[in-house]
């Protein structure tokens, strides 16, 4: 079988070291001293008996307690719409400043426990992200404020309202309302009412991760200070200059949906978009790119200009990097074919102007860029914020109201903002926690969590999404809008105002109720895409870019948002997000300086330190903008050799919460104010130190020992020979059976792949023959349902929404950094990341994501070795896990070739019957408060210490779906049972269903539509997995990292 060489860390390229690691997987010493006299002791047997006797007696004492008396307390007056034990679903909207997702809240007995995507929204189309999934945990965040505060003391709303009324009446100087981007039309109305009452108030919008450059460039280019709608699904060629549009850029859920829609590859549809990515760090968007080249951030302007020239004049780019030149030239010729789209992640007016010019030249406006629907995700103009801070420091500001942002932490000169804040007489924060800014404010009037709020959002003009609460406010908090209305002297509440606003817009209360139930109000017919006339001055922009000074220092620094933690805010204190491995680095619980392998080597990191097995990482000193911080390095193949990258959102104050505190360093001060915008790129000097720091990386925790588990083809290869993978499989497993058409007399009757013929099931014959003849065990049948899952590696973008969705659905424990370091993380679903290519040449690196979960093997290795039959197989093809039967031998985990079983080494969640057994590390423990435990799914057992656990295919959902069908007396419909990962996925990479049902999507996919791409991981072991994968197809003609190059690659490196 042709196989690219995939590696997950550099250590795998160093054969002796890799073998050492592989053979000595558990190289820690046993926790007791065997060398001493333990075994020579005079009475070891007696001691043993003593311990045995004592522990038996202790266990008996503990076990023979009386049965507790339990109470069952019904409602005093049961609400009509709640049936205990039956979930209610409410359509609502996730809004976090400009981040948007249409959602459905699942509530059980009046408390939200899970977020799903709202499929009715034409923007996010049912997709979610890890942050959206994790936001439900933040509702129960212990660090949330439980009442308003006045000068650090607990206060009442009445007292604060009075004080603010007094403050505003005696106001001297200007008053400001500082917010993040506001998507809500009614909130904007409320703000204008507030301004009408206090005309001195100015509204400043500030985005910590700013898109001001784009807004300003669009103003220059098109006369509109707004963002258009991007249509990645319409694009045949996508060129991204440093924009991580699948992970963090602007509206990643929407773009991921669109992007994957344009890349649904099958033998009947051999078309897919071509994606070029030029970037300086390694993002998940870069990982999915068909062609990827790296450049320094300071070269991005030049790259844009080169692309502009290539598109307009056909001039060949002239960079030092051959790959970069090729990429730009090829991209230019593809873009010119039409339906191209160029996006850029830089917050730079001139750069964005040039990008606009390119889009204009290639005719993107009106095809892939729709100007008739503008996006409202980001509205902040950076200079407004700089002016505000200057005004504050010069004492011109009399009052400041801060909502949604945290400038003391996020502003590039946080200290300057804090100084300015001291000069403002009336400072009010609406923060949900005592964050860095709220601590410095006189009044803190906490806003409701979005799951407790009425509201709305207009992410795109004309596309409304309504927000309704899933729970009454848990604490004494008040909606931000209600506070403003109260201070403006309005008599209505925001809820009433909002209701009136929409019911009058929609014509009637009835229409409003229906819209509220559906969660969205959209135009029946979307306006047809329209362009805009480019009126910008490209020459000026090009001149400005060319004359900009090169970055100083020996390296260039890039600040980036992690897919999980984002800009910081509430995400910092979310243990689910903190423990979610970063898609590329696979790091948890920290930020770090990402460097390329070559740079790491230069920094003196030896193999043990630059590889990922050893968690001790070299600490380096990074100096930029006159600020120095020390961070450990993590090697990321595929990064530009002269670049270091640091994630923002770390280094939070203790009061932000226990999970956030003392984690990493704050990188925001490295932002640069370039006179127009905040720049996330700057020059930097780095130097070695002799310190080490532990970083909990997860990728090397599970090794496949180099066996072929991924199949990847270029589009060209696949188009030419789509049957290659199937023929390889046939070679591997076909000899177990004589395929019907190979029998005498049938030669030449071989059916075409994917054409299911009832008499000769083309694909089933191969698999069925292997199933029956490849083992000595009898073949068990599934008389009713047989569950199966398919994961499309082409569609998977590695974003981690499924990981967190699974965690929320299945009560998966957070273990904390200490135990991640010991490879004891509990995620049932993980996304393995593999590299191919030459580590020292970032241009050659291609990255692959492979979601890995229990494969529910029909001939499962784990089942046979369990001494207590705690993990048997069901007639529906599920590999069941019975916690109450498990005695924790871990034989199953040792025998699982997919490494998907997880052992509860500690009592993570207080599920043990023994008291005071709960594991605590000071960081993750907020998870175990009575408040945070409200997020647990009551249909799933909380596992206690000493038992094994793993993916169950969300059996509670399957049972529920079946029960629904049974109650209605009808067969189960296809798509009725969905797993949490499937539902969370923004790219529809996961399909799940009943393979016994020949009309189901999963059956059709396996037997007909995707026969050519289908494969099972480690199929040759005859584990008969119920999870199949679809091969990765890259629209590229350069396949790097072939076998023949591997030895050379190793020699080159280290």
């Amino acid at each position: 079988m042709s196989q690219k060489q995939y590696w997950k860390g550099l250590e795998e390229l160093n054969k002796p070291a890799q073998q050492e690691v592989a053979t000595d997987e558990f190289n820690e010493d046993l926790p007791f001293d065997l060398s001493g006299n333990l075994l020579d002791a005079t009475t070891p047997r007696r001691d043993f008996l003593k311990y045995l006797g004592f522990s038996t007696a202790a266990a008996m004492l503990a076990a023979s307690c009386e049965m507790p008396v339990r109470k069952v307390i019904p409602y005093a007056i049961k609400p009509d719409d709640i049936t205990p034990g039956v979930p209610n679903f409410y359509a609502s909207t996730f809004v976090d400043n400009g981040d948007y997702c249409a959602i459905v809240i699942k509530t059980r007995d009046g408390r939200p426990i899970k977020i799903e995507g709202n499929e009715k929204s034409s923007i996010t189309r049912g997709g979610t992200s890890a942050r959206v999934q994790a936001s439900v945990l933040s509702l129960y965040d212990k660090a949330r404020l439980r009442q308003p505060f006045s000068e650090g003391h607990e206060a009442t709303f009445a007292a604060i309202d009075k004080a603010i009324a007094e403050g505003m009446s005696g106001l001297s100087g200007q008053a400001y309302l500082l917010t993040g981007s506001i998507l809500s039309p009614t909130t904007k109305e409320v703000i204008s009412q507030f301004i009408a009452k206090f005309p001195t108030v100015k509204h400043v919008v500030y985005d910590p991760i700013s898109y001001s450059g784009m807004l300003q460039a669009n103003e220059v280019s098109y006369g509109k200070r707004s963002l258009p709608s991007y249509q990645f699904d319409q694009a045949q060629t996508i060129f991204s200059l440093g924009a991580d549009f699948l992970g963090t850029w602007l509206s990643p859920i929407e773009f991921a949906k669109q992007y994957s829609a344009g890349r649904r590859i099958g033998v009947k549809n051999l078309k897919m978009s071509k994606h070029y990515q030029v970037e300086s760090i390694h993002t998940i968007t870069g990982a999915k790119a068909d062609e990827r080249a790296v450049c320094k951030p300071s070269e991005m302007g030049a790259v844009a200009i080169a692309l502009y020239n290539a598109v307009t004049t056909g001039a060949a780019p002239n960079f030092g990097s051959k790959k970069l030149n090729e990429t730009i030239a090829k991209a230019a010729s593809d873009l010119k074919k039409g339906n191209g789209l160029v996006v850029c992640g830089a917050n730079d007016v001139n750069l964005q102007t040039v990008v606009n010019a390119i889009n204009d030249k290639i005719g993107a406006n009106g095809t892939t860029i729709n100007w008739s629907i503008s996006s409202n995700y980001k509205q902040g103009i950076d200079s407004d914020m700089v002016n505000l801070v200057n005004a504050m420091n010069s004492g011109q500001v009399g009052a400041l109201f801060i909502h949604g942002v945290n400038p003391v932490y996020e502003y590039f000169q946080g200290a300057k903002f804090a100084d300015g804040l001291k000069k403002v007489k009336l400072t009010v924060s609406f923060a949900d926690r005592m964050d860095e800014t709220a601590q410095q404010c006189k009044f803190v009037v906490p806003d409701n969590h979005y799951l407790e709020s009425w509201g709305d959002a207009e992410p795109k003009t004309g596309y409304i999404s309504l927000m309704q609460p899933g729970i009454a406010p848990i604490f004494k908090t008040r909606a931000f809008q209600d506070s403003l209305l109260t201070w403006a002297g309005a008599t209505t509440t925001y809820g009433q105002f909002w209701n009136q606003f929409w019911s009058s817009k929609l014509g009637s209360q009835e229409n409003f109720d229906r819209s509220l139930q559906e969660g969205i109000i959209e135009l029946a017919i979307a306006p047809s895409a329209s362009g805009a006339t480019f009126t910008g001055n490209v020459a000026n922009a090009i001149n400005a870019l060319q004359s900009s000074k090169p970055a100083s220092g020996n390296k260039e620094l890039v600040l980036y948002e992690k897919v999980s933690i984002g800009r910081g805010a509430w995400m910092s204190n979310n243990p689910w997000l903190q423990e979610m491995p970063d898609p590329i680095t696979r790091g948890t619980w920290d930020n770090y300086a990402c460097v390329s392998p070559k740079t790491a080597f230069e920094l003196g990191a030896e193999l043990t330190s630059i590889n990922e097995v050893d968690y001790k990482k070299h600490v380096i000193k990074i100096t930029a903008n006159g600020i120095t911080i020390e961070l450990p390095i993590v090697t990321v193949p595929g990064m530009h050799n002269d670049v270091i990258a640091i994630a923002v959102g770390y280094g939070r104050d203790e009061k932000v919460g226990r999970a956030a505190a003392k984690t990493g360093k704050n990188a925001y001060p490295f932002q640069v104010w370039n006179g127009l915008t905040f720049d996330l790129y700057s020059g930097a000097n780095i130097e070695k130190t002799n310190d080490f720091y532990d970083i909990a990386l997860t990728q090397t925790h599970n090794s496949y020992e180099g066996r072929a588990i991924i199949h990847e083809f270029s589009l060209e290869e696949f188009s030419k020979n789509p049957e290659e993978l199937y023929r390889d499989r046939e070679e591997e497993i076909g000899h177990y059976t004589t395929l019907p058409w190979k029998k005498e007399g049938y030669e030449g009757n071989e059916p075409k792949l994917g054409e299911y013929v009832a008499a000769v099931p083309a694909t089933d014959a191969l698999e069925e023959g292997f199933r029956e003849n490849g083992t000595l065990y009898p073949n068990y049948e599934s008389p009713g349902i047989h569950w199966g899952m398919s994961i499309d590696l082409t569609a998977c973008i590695g974003c981690g929404a499924c990981v967190i969705g699974c965690q929320a659905e299945n009560n998966v424990s957070v273990v904390g950094k200490t135990h991640v370091l010991k490879a004891q993380e509990m995620h049932w679903m993980r996304i393995d990341r593999y590299f191919t290519g030459m580590p020292n040449d970032p241009d050659t690196i291609q990255t692959v994501f492979q979601p890995m979960l229990c494969q529910h093997c029909d001939n499962a290795p784990c089942e046979n070795v369990c001494p207590v039959a705690a993990t048997p197989h069901s007639s529906e093809g599920l590999n069941m896990m019975t916690y109450n039967r498990c005695i924790g031998t871990k034989y199953c985990a040792n025998n699982c070739p997919y490494k998907v079983r997880h052992f509860n080494w500690m009592d993570w969640n207080g599920a043990d019957c023994f008291q005071d057994n709960l594991y605590e590390d000071g960081r993750r423990d907020d998870m175990n408060d009575d408040l945070t435990r409200m997020v647990l799914n009551p249909d799933v057992t909380v596992r206690s210490r000493g038992v094994m656990e793993k993916c169950t295919f969300c059996v509670q959902r399957l049972q529920d779906a079946k029960l629904h069908a049974k109650k209605e007396g009808r067969p189960l419909q296809d798509g009725e049972a969905k797993t949490a990962c499937q539902q969370a996925c923004p790219t529809d990479a996961i399909l799940f269903g009943n393979v016994n049902d020949r009309t189901s999507a999963i059956y059709k996919l396996r037997a007909q539509e995707q026969v050519h791409r289908k494969f099972y991981v480690l199929e040759q072991l005859h584990t008969l997995p119920n999870v199949n994968y679809l091969s990765l197809i890259r629209n590229t003609d350069v396949i790097v990292g072939g076998n023949e190059k591997l030895d050379g690659m190793m020699n080159d490196h280290i």
Partner: protein, 470 residues
């Protein structure tokens, strides 16, 4: 068995007067295991003993007494079967002496042929379909077809009939409670008889053993052979071994049973905050269970009703005028009217003004009732009422017992996993009626071809772990 004896004999014939300790223990275990499985063979064992040497003889006699003890245990176990079988299979619908959902069963073997009873229990529908006049009579009278119990063996059915025939109503003749009369007395005296015989036989064994021992000593003295030193019985290793094994077995039996019982609460009958009588509501007044427990068809929880549901009726009904006395398990009598007053307190109802008591905001001043939960399942068990009540159409009484006759509710079923599994093995799903099961093509074909009469819960995977544990 044979192999074992030969082995022992050859060892003995080699003139070794003692077996090694390990072999001794091993043979004890082996013979014990064999004795368990093939008790009868032990009788053949005795003549062989004559020829073997003393140590082995000691062991054998030990086994002998063990077998007796075990025989005795077995007998008592069989005697209990009828009651257990009746309670787990029949009691939900049948009372031995009263007509309930089904007829009173006492004397059924006199009313009907045994064969008819077997056929009826195993497949009532088939008997009805065959046009049996008795069956028709039953269906006409009780308007319900009995659940089939295809898995009950003839012996088990006999045991049930015997239990039913022997049954005496508890408290029916309180004066005679202490004095066994009629057949039950005979059954009891049987037990005593066995005990008596065992004791006699045991005594005989000991006497014979001592006699044999004494005679052999005398014989040895006569022949000039050395005698073993006599040890008191409490130092005798065989005796010690037997005692240890016996203690181990009985303690183990006791401990295992105790451990299995941990966390189970069959017959748990706690006192409740309000003396609410299911007998009055569901029995006398015939209120449908689902009126109050409305979740039973919709949710995993059947739901204890909130006081506002009680108030639907109790706004009008403010005193208890029923003839039935409300008596708790301890014999305490309750005043129904006073209990209704307690409800009013919880519900926030002013019985004088006939309206709810409200606070300044207009909210009813009520408080929830903290009932004591009787039926508790461990956290790792998922049980869904609607699955059983709506889909399986299981009667409430099947698990909750004769609830319409309980003044004070107690836990009728053990709620153990064995109990659940047993039912899942025996109960047939509504295979033909519920279209959900149309996907089980194989079973439909088998039914058509007559290979199969019905599909049990077990056949559709109802005893798999992940049906209840996840």
């Amino acid at each position: 068995m044979v192999q074992f004896i030969i082995l022992s004999e050859t060892r003995a014939q080699r003139g070794k007067y003692f077996l090694k300790k390990g072999v001794q223990v091993l043979s004890l275990c082996c013979s014990f295991a064999l004795a368990l499985s093939k008790g009868k063979l032990i009788l053949n064992f005795i003549p062989v003993l004559e020829s073997v040497k003393p140590m082995f003889r000691k062991i054998a006699s030990g086994i002998f007494s063990l077998v007796f003890a075990l025989l005795f245990c077995n007998l008592t176990a069989v005697a209990q079967d009828g009651k257990a079988l009746f309670n787990s299979n029949c009691a939900a619908c049948h009372n031995p002496i009263k007509d309930a959902t089904g007829p009173a069963l006492q004397g059924v073997d006199q009313r009907r042929e045994k064969d008819w009873i077997y056929k009826w229990i195993k497949n009532p529908s088939a008997v009805i379909a065959a046009g049996d006049p008795h069956a028709k009579e039953l269906v006409d009278k009780y308007k319900i077809v009995m659940t089939a119990f295809p898995n009950l063996t003839h012996e088990e059915i006999d045991a049930i009939i015997k239990y039913v025939d022997d049954y005496k109503a508890p408290g029916a003749e309180p004066a005679a409670a202490g004095q066994p009369a009629g057949e039950p007395a005979a059954a009891e005296s049987n037990g005593w008889l066995y005990t008596f015989i065992t004791v006699i036989l045991l005594a005989l064994v000991i006497v014979l053993w001592r006699a044999n021992y004494g005679l052999r000593r005398v014989a040895n003295e006569k022949e000039g052979l050395p005698n073993e030193k006599e040890v008191p019985f409490y130092r005798n290793k065989v005796v010690i071994a037997i005692v240890v094994i016996l203690v181990f077995i009985f303690c183990g039996y006791w401990l295992t049973n105790g451990a299995i019982e941990l966390g189970r609460q069959q017959n748990y009958q706690p006192e409740q905050p309000i003396f609410y009588s299911h007998k009055v509501h569901a029995g006398v007044n015939q209120i449908n269970c689902l009126y109050c427990h409305s979740g039973a068809e919709k949710s995993r929880q059947a739901m204890v009703p909130s006081p506002n549901v009680c108030m639907n009726c109790h706004k009008q009904i403010n005193e208890y005028t029923g003839k039935e006395k409300l008596v708790s398990a301890e014999g305490k009598e309750f005043d129904g009217t006073a209990e209704i007053q307690k409800l009013y307190k919880y519900a926030g109802w002013d019985p004088a003004k006939k309206e709810y008591i409200r606070d300044a905001n207009g909210n009813i001043k009520d408080q929830p009732i903290a009932w004591t939960k009787i039926h508790n399942l461990p956290d790792h068990v998922y049980f869904n009422h609607s699955q059983h009540v709506k889909v399986g159409q299981v009667q409430c009484q099947r698990c909750h017992g004769d609830i319409q006759n309980m003044d004070e509710v107690y836990q009728f079923a053990p709620l153990s996993m064995g109990w659940c599994i047993n039912c899942h093995r025996q109960t047939e799903v509504k295979f033909a009626d519920n279209n959900y099961y149309s996907i089980f093509e194989k079973y439909h074909e088998e039914i058509k071809s007559g290979k199969r009469t019905g599909v049990t819960v077990n056949d559709v995977g109802g005893t798999e772990c992940a049906k209840c544990h996840y």
